[in-house]
C-alpha cells in the first residue's frame, strides 16, 4: 500500500498533515522489518488522526469495505455463485432463493411468481370492503323493484348530474369523435399511434376545464399536463418519478384507501400516515408532519413527498390557505415534494372557497415550484370514471419529461380522448354543468347531514367531495376497532347499508364512518334514515 500511495499522492507539501504536536514517527527498522514498517507506520499515523485528507479517509474506508465483504462472505451460506448482484430483499416477504436446477427431481410446485406478486395477492382490499361490495351487487336496492335491498353508500360515484351528461351525449354523439373537418368518418387520425401522454387538444381542453372548475382563480398551462389512464395511474407514475423503492410519502390520515396500493404495489413507496384528529376537524398540522417525518427518519425510511387530497377524501374538508403556505415552507425545509390530489376540486358545495395549490404558487414568487405536483381527473367532477382520464400537472420540467415517457404504460384511449375534447370544448355546457352539479351536491349534502343530525349523528363540516364523515362512535358497543367493525357488520346485515368504516381509511379514532351521498335521490334519504333507526334506536 505504501509505495502506491507515494506514487499517486499529490506533491508532498500539499499533503502534509496539520494536526497539533506530533508524536515522533517510530524509527524505521532495518532489513526485513523495513517492509512491515512501511505499512504499519502510516497506518499508525492514520489511527492517530494524522493521515491527511485523502489517505486519512480513503484507507479507513477501504479497510471497512474489505471487512464488510469478509463478514458477508463468512456469514452467508456457501452459494455456487459468489458474484450475486445485490437483490432487493427489502420489506417484501421473500421466497427463499435457490437455483432452479437445484430443485430438479424433487416435487415441484408450479412455477413460482415474484415476491412482489405474492405480497400483492395477499394484500389490501380488506375482506370487509369486498363483502360489502358483494352484498350490494347481489341484492341492490331499488326504490320500486327491491325496496329492501342493500343500499350502497361506499362507492364514490356521482349520479346527481348525470342526466346533463347523457343529454349532451344524446344531442352530440354523432359528431363527437370523428374528424368533422375531413368530411365524416376518418379513422386514420384516431386509430394510429398517438403521443402517449395525450393529444394536445385534449390537454388544452382540460386546462380550460380546470380553470373553470377553480372559478378562474388560476389559469392552467396545457404543456404542463401529462394525461394518464386515471388518477390511480397518475399517482403511480409520480411515485416512480419522485421516490425510489423503500422511500416514503407522508400522507395525512384518514386518507383514501387506494393510496396504499397506488404508491406501493409497483413503485414500492411506503405510505407514512400522519394522524389527524377530530379536534382539529381532521385538518393536518405541520407539527404532526414534523413528528411523522422524524419518526420515519429514525426508522431509516427516507421521506420524499407529502401526498394529501384537497378537498379531502374521506373527510371532505377544504384546506386553509395558511396551512398550504406552511406546508410549502415545511417541504422546502425538508427538501421534499408536495403532491396535491385535487380530484374533487369541481365538487365543492360549501361556502368556503377552494384554494388550489396552483393558486398558492401564483401568489408566492419565492417558492421553488419544481417541488409541486397536482393530480387531477375527470372521474369525479365529470362523472366519467369508466373513461379513465387522469392527469399530472407538474411545475417540474424533468418530472414532466420522465412522466410523459412513463405514460406509454397507461395512455388514454384515442376515441375517448376525442369524445372528451368535444364535450369539454362545449363551454356553455360545461359552465352550466359545473353550476348545476354544485347546487345539487349542496342540496343533497344538506339533506343527508340534516337527516343524520336528527338521529343524533354529527358530521364533520365539509366543503367538497362526495362524502359525509360521520361520528357514530356513540353507537358502538366498545370504543375500539373491534367495536367499529361490529357496528359496520350490523349496518350491513341489519340496516342493509354498506358504508366505509374509518379504519379502512386509517383513521386513528374509532367510530367514524364515510357515507357517500351522491348516488342517492331525495326520496332515498328518508329510507336510509329509517334503516339507520333500526340499529341506532335500539341503543
Amino acid at each position: 500500500m505504501n509505495p502506491e500511495a507515494e506514487a499517486k499522492a499529490p506533491p508532498a507539501d500539499e499533503e502534509a498533515t496539520s494536526a497539533g504536536p506530533l508524536a515522533f514517527p517510530p524509527v524505521a527498522a532495518r532489513g526485513g522489518g523495513a517492509a512491515a514498517m512501511r505499512l504499519i507506520v502510516p497506518l499508525q499515523g492514520i489511527v492517530q488522526g494524522r493521515g491527511g485528507l485523502v489517505l486519512g479517509s480513503l484507507i479507513p474506508c477501504a479497510l471497512f469495505y474489505f471487512l464488510q465483504i469478509y463478514l458477508k462472505r463468512n456469514r452467508s451460506s456457501p452459494s455456487p455463485s459468489s458474484s450475486s448482484p445485490p437483490a432487493d430483499e427489502g420489506e417484501l416477504p421473500g421466497i427463499v432463493r435457490t437455483l432452479s436446477r437445484a430443485s430438479l427431481g424433487s416435487a415441484r410446485s408450479p412455477a413460482a411468481v415474484s415476491s412482489r406478486a405474492v405480497s400483492i395477492a395477499k394484500s389490501s382490499d380488506s375482506a370487509a370492503y369486498f363483502v360489502g361490495y358483494k352484498k350490494c351487487s347481489e341484492d341492490p336496492y331499488h326504490p320500486l323493484d327491491n325496496p329492501d335491498g342493500v343500499i350502497q353508500l361506499g362507492l364514490a360515484e356521482n349520479h346527481l348530474s348525470f342526466d346533463l351528461i347523457e343529454g349532451w351525449f344524446a344531442t352530440n354523439s354523432k359528431n363527437s369523435w370523428f374528424d368533422e373537418r375531413q368530411g365524416g368518418l376518418n379513422i386514420n387520425g384516431l386509430a394510429t399511434y398517438q403521443p402517449s401522454d395525450g393529444l394536445m387538444e385534449l390537454k388544452m381542453a382540460i386546462a380550460g376545464f380546470m380553470g373553470q372548475v377553480v372559478q378562474g382563480s388560476v389559469s392552467f398551462n396545457p404543456s404542463r399536463i401529462i394525461l394518464t389512464a386515471g388518477a390511480t395511474s397518475a399517482i403511480e407514475i409520480l411515485s416512480f418519478c419522485l421516490g425510489d423503492h423503500g422511500n416514503g410519502f407522508l400522507v395525512p390520515s384518514p386518507y383514501y384507501p387506494g393510496y396504499d396500493r397506488n404508491t406501493k404495489w409497483t413503485a414500492g413507496i411506503e405510505v407514512i400516515p400522519v394522524p389527524c384528529r377530530s379536534t382539529d376537524n381532521f385538518s393536518f398540522s405541520i407539527a404532526a408532519l414534523e413528528r411523522a417525518y422524524d419518526q420515519a427518519k429514525k426508522r431509516g425510511v427516507k421521506v420524499r413527498a407529502v401526498l394529501f387530497s384537497n378537498p379531502s377524501n374521506p373527510v371532505g374538508n377544504l384546506l386553509q390557505r395558511k396551512l398550504l403556505h406552511d406546508l410549502l415552507d415545511f417541504a422546502t425545509e425538508k427538501n421534499i415534494h408536495v403532491i396535491a390530489d385535487e380530484v374533487f376540486a369541481g365538487s365543492t358545495y360549501g361556502n368556503e372557497e377552494f384554494v388550489s395549490m396552483a393558486e398558492i404558487l401564483n401568489s408566492d414568487d419565492e417558492f421553488d415550484r419544481s417541488r409541486v405536483h397536482i393530480i387531477y381527473s375527470l372521474s369525479k367532477d365529470l362523472s366519467v370514471p369508466g373513461f379513465r382520464t387522469g392527469l399530472i400537472y407538474s411545475f417540474n420540467d424533468q418530472v414532466l419529461s420522465v412522466a410523459s415517457k412513463l405514460t406509454r404504460f397507461s395512455s388514454i384511449s384515442a376515441p375517448t380522448q376525442r369524445l372528451l375534447i368535444s364535450m369539454l370544448t362545449d363551454s356553455d355546457f360545461i359552465t352550466r354543468y359545473i353550476k348545476v352539479n354544485r347546487s345539487r351536491l349542496r342540496a343533497m349534502h344538506a339533506l343527508f347531514v340534516d337527516g343524520l343530525k336528527q338521529l343524533g349523528i354529527k358530521c364533520v363540516k365539509s366543503g367538497g367531495g362526495f362524502y359525509c364523515w360521520a361520528d357514530v362512535s356513540q353507537f358502538m358497543k366498545s370504543y375500539s376497532e373491534k367495536g367499529e367493525f361490529e357496528l359496520w357488520k350490523e349496518m350491513l346485515d341489519l340496516a342493509k347499508i354498506n358504508a366505509t368504516p374509518g379504519t379502512a381509511c386509517h383513521c386513528i379514532e374509532p367510530g367514524w364512518f364515510r357515507f357517500c351521498f351522491t348516488t342517492l335521490t331525495e326520496k332515498d334519504v328518508p329510507v336510509i334514515m329509517e334503516r339507520f333507526k333500526r340499529i341506532f334506536d335500539s341503543r
Partner: protein, 484 residues
Amino acid sequence: MLETKQAVKDVSRRGQRYWWLRGEEEGPRPFHFSFTWFVACFLKLTTMAKSCMPLSELATSNTHGEDSPYFAGWKAYDEEPYDAAENPSGVIQMGLAENQVSFDLLEEYLEQHPEATGWGCGISGFRENALFQDYHGLRAFRQAMATFMEKIRGERAKFDPERIVLTAGATAANELLTFILADPGDCVLIPAPYYPGFDRDLRWRTGANIIPVHCNSSNGFQITTQNLEAAFAEAVAMGFRVRGVLITNPSNPLGTTISRPVLEEILVFAARNDIHLISDEIYSGSVFSPDEFVSMAEIVEERGYKDCERVHVVYSLSKDLGLPGFRVGAIYSYNDRVVTTARKMSSFTLVSSQTQKMLASMLSDRVFVENYLETNRKRLKERHDYIVEGLKDAGIECLRGNAGLFCWMNLAPLLKETTREGELELWKLILQEVKLNITPGSSCHCSEAGWFRVCFANMSQRTLEVALRRMRNFTEKMMMIKEN
C-alpha cells in the same frame, strides 16, 4: 513558496519517507489553502445538491433506452416527414410497425353500425358504461376478445373469457407480467433479435434484466434448445435468477412464425428449468396463411394442459386491427394466481369503458371478423411480396417471412466493415441520404451485423414504390463505389 517546497523535499530526501506525518514546521501553507478549498467545494456541492429537487433514480437514469438509434430515427422522421405532395424528399418512415392497409374495412363497419359508436338504442347504456370502472373489464368485451382470438387460430384453441385481463396495450401487458413473474434483479430470456421496446418495457420500472438468446442466420434465426441452454447458463454465471422466457410468435423483427416442434421444445425447456413462458402473439392475426401459425395455446391444449400454469399469452388489437391508438391489450394466463394478481394490478392501466363497448360489438360480429381477417391477411401478403420483389431488384435479400408488418433484410454486402459500428454507419447513411428510416439489427440485439427491419404496412402503395426506388438507386450507387 518555492524555497518552502525545496526545503520539504530536502527533508524527505534525507531519508524520512513519511512525509505525510510531517508537521507544518516547514510551513506548508499551501496545504491549508487546498484543504480549505476542498472543504469549501464540498459544502458548495452539497448546497447545490440541496437546491436542485432530488428525483428518483429511475427519473434520472437512462434505462428508458430512448437514446438508441431506434428512437433517433423516429425523431428524424418527426422533423422532416415525407409527404407525396408537400415534402416529396422527406424521410419515409419504415421503422414503425403499424397496420394501415385495412382501415377502410373498419370505417365501413362503423358507418354501417352507428350503434357501435353512439348509444342510439337507449341512453341508459351510456350511464352504466361511463360509470363502469371495474378492473374485470366488460364481460361482453372479454367474450368478444376470446372469440376473436379463437377465430384467428382457426378455432384450434379455446380461450376462457374469465382468464383474460385487459390492459392499456400490449406494452402494459408485458410489463405487468414482468412485475408479477420477476423480482428486481431477476432476468428474462428473450430470443434475439427482438423488439427494441422490450429493453424499456421489461426493464425500466421492473428492475428486471434481459439476457438475449442469440439466434443466427445459419438456420434462419430459429430458436434452438442449445441456444436457450447457453443463454440460461450465461444468466446463471452472471448471478441472475432466470424467471421466464419471452417469445414473440410471429416474431418481431423477423416476420416469421415459430414452428410446432420448436414451440414444444421451448415449453419443455421452460418446464425443465422451472421458469415461466410468455408468448407474445400480437401479430397472430397478421400471418399471411393462417395454417402456418401455431399458437402456444394449441401446444398447451395438445399436451393436456400439462405445465400450463407457467404459460401466459399476450395479445393486443394494435397490430391485427390496426388500432394502436385505442390502447387495447390483454394477458391470457393459465395460472390462476397470475390472473388474479394481474387483474388487481391492471387498475393502473385500464381500458376505457367506451372503447370496450365499441369494440365488443365489432369483435362479436362473426361476419365482419371473418371478412376482415381474410382481407387483411391477403393485403399484407401482397404488400410483403411486393416489397420483397422490390428489394430483390435492388440486390437485397430478405429472410423468408410469412407474417407481420415488416421484412428482415440483409444489407451485409453493403457494409464497409461487418461490425456494429459499420452497421450503424450504414443506418445513418440511409437515414440521412436515402431518407429512409429503417431499424438496424443492433437495436434488436442481433448478433450478426448487417440485418435491418423494414416495415411496409404503415404507408400507401405509392409511398412504398417511392421508397423502393430510392433503395434501388442507393444500392446501385453503393455497388459502383465498391467496384471502384
